[in-house]
């Protein structure tokens, strides 16, 4: 008999890690013979047609009178938590991790409150959850601490094919006109991602090693106040002309930044899983990163992992990667190898097996 497992996702977007993961999860589950639909609370216009609002979930029809399962993509506080609990269907969660509210307290008290709610929801869902999947061992640890069982790590699903479209030629030409080392970071502008440390590191690198170096921060704003503080910081450090905050940009422009990058720098203090690190590995951009949260396990040996993010130490690491050809080649090769382990061809079956085991166990 065909088994059904529907995905519930609070925010369904086209370009972010969760939205991409949800779309690929649906594909691999369907390919494995599951019936699987997507239900969301909020959705971007471009992906709305791929699912339905959760209020349209019919327990008799969609829930097959209690036989269907739910896979809840847990990352934020949402009204869907109550819906999942009230539906009284067997469910499991896929935990994308929740940023500790303390990072946002100072910048966006409202966002901090939402994160507290999300952590509360993580605890509320635990007792009746039949299985729990996490995007990393780091995230799995949180699930175990709040009582989920059984738990398993299934990396985020995404497809490298999207990274091989043509880059925006105009942007690429502009980037290639500039001299100097080009340092890149991709991720939402949020206090836990510590873009201020990136600006400080590149300011120090310009001061000590390469006065023409540039930093590009690609990513939309999670905190406007933090975003403005970064602009002010760059200005006060006299590097405003060398630090580019792009905000959200189309994929083809992002690809141009990838192609022009000499080093990918990540000094984030909290990541559940870091898709751009894997993208950097796949695209052959050497990585310097701060060893925090899930960064170390995502990167493995395929980059330079620092335990100190003092601007001068980070600057020295960038300098080493840029100047030492043999090290650079070794990091790039190690990155290619590691990136293969995160390809959807490798991770899709891990998800399917985990779901099959859970459903078979009832």
């Amino acid at each position: 008999m065909t088994q059904t497992i529907h995905q519930f996702v609070p925010n369904f977007a086209s370009g972010d890690a969760i939205g991409t993961h949800v779309r690929h999860s649906q594909r691999v589950l369907r390919d494995a013979g599951f019936r699987s639909e997507i239900f969301y609370d909020e959705a971007q216009a471009s992906v709305k047609k791929l699912g339905r609002h959760w209020s349209q979930f019919d327990r008799a029809r969609d829930g097959e009178d209690g036989r269907a399962w739910i896979l809840f993509q847990l990352s934020t506080g949402s009204a869907m938590t109550d819906a999942v609990l009230e539906l009284d269907l067997p469910y499991g969660v896929y935990f994308h991790n929740v940023t500790p509210p303390s990072f946002f307290e100072r910048w966006e008290p409202g966002a901090a409150e939402n994160l507290r709610r999300a952590l509360h929801d993580v605890r509320r869902l635990a007792p009746r959850s039949r299985f729990a999947l996490a995007n990393s061992r780091f995230s799995e640890q949180t699930l175990v601490e709040v009582g989920y069982s059984p738990t398993e790590v299934v990396p985020v699903l995404f497809d490298y094919a999207e990274l091989h479209d043509a880059p925006n030629a105009k942007v690429l030409a502009r980037l290639r006109r500039d001299e100097g080392t080009r340092v890149l970071f991709i991720g939402r502008v949020a206090p836990n991602k510590c873009q201020h440390d990136l600006i400080a590191a590149v300011a120090a690198y310009r001061e000590v090693f390469d006065a023409t170096a540039r930093l590009t921060l690609v990513g939309g704003r999670t905190s406007n106040v933090y975003y403005r503080s970064l602009e002010v910081l760059a200005d006060e450090l006299g590097v405003a002309d060398s630090v580019e905050l792009t905000d959200s940009i189309p994929d083809d422009e992002k690809l141009a930044y990838w192609q022009a990058a000499d080093v990918y720098l990540n000094l984030s203090e909290h990541e559940g899983f870091t898709v751009p690190l894997v993208e950097a590995m796949h695209l052959g951009v050497p990585i310097v990163a701060f060893a925090s949260s899930a960064v170390s396990e995502t990167l493995g040996d395929a980059g330079i992992l620092l335990t100190d993010k003092d601007p001068v130490v980070v600057a020295a690491a960038i300098d080493r990667v840029v100047r030492d050809e043999a090290l650079r080649k070794e990091l790039v090769d190690a990155g290619y190898e590691r990136a293969r382990t995160f390809a959807v061809e490798a991770t899709g079956p891990v998800l399917v097996d985990a779901v099959k085991r859970a459903v078979a166990g009832g």
Binding site: L233, V313, L327
Partner: protein
């Protein structure tokens, strides 16, 4: 995944880099004052709590809250009220836009003023520190 054999053992490499940074910092030509400024300004943004005297943060909060949201909620559970609210919103929107633009401009100007004052205070504090150090040196001679 098992760690692969590497010509540059990663832990040793990180230590090597830290040592290279230390060495660089000990060089007489190292731009110590400039790096101290970089460390101090970045550390401010990394702090979990705001220093009550942080004028920059206060100015940026002001700037953020000076943005007036013109999307007034029009939902209502009372039948017909939603339509009335929508109509009022449509009628008032030109007026609200005019007011909001002025409030936002005032907020931005005030925030810019705050950031400028903060920068001036910082550079004065740095000068005072430098003068103190010079006085201490001269007194010691």
């Amino acid at each position: 995944m098992a760690a692969s054999a590497t010509s540059f053992p990663r832990a040793a490499l990180a230590e090597e880099i830290a040592a290279a940074a230390d060495e660089r910092e000990g060089d007489p030509s190292f731009p110590s004052a400039r790096i101290a400024k970089i460390r101090s300004l970045a550390a401010r943004l990394g702090a979990a709590k705001v220093d009550p005297g942080d004028i920059r943060h206060a100015a940026l909060l002001l700037e953020r809250h000076a943005v007036i949201d013109l999307q007034v909620p029009t939902a209502s559970r009372v039948p017909g009220v939603q339509l009335v609210k929508r109509a009022v919103k449509q009628l008032m929107i030109w007026y609200l836009r005019f007011l909001a633009a002025q409030v936002t401009a005032l907020g931005h100007a005030t925030a810019r003023f705050g950031v400028t004052v903060a920068s001036r205070v910082d550079s004065m504090e740095a000068e005072i520190e430098e003068l103190r150090a010079r006085v201490a040196r001269l007194e010691g001679e």
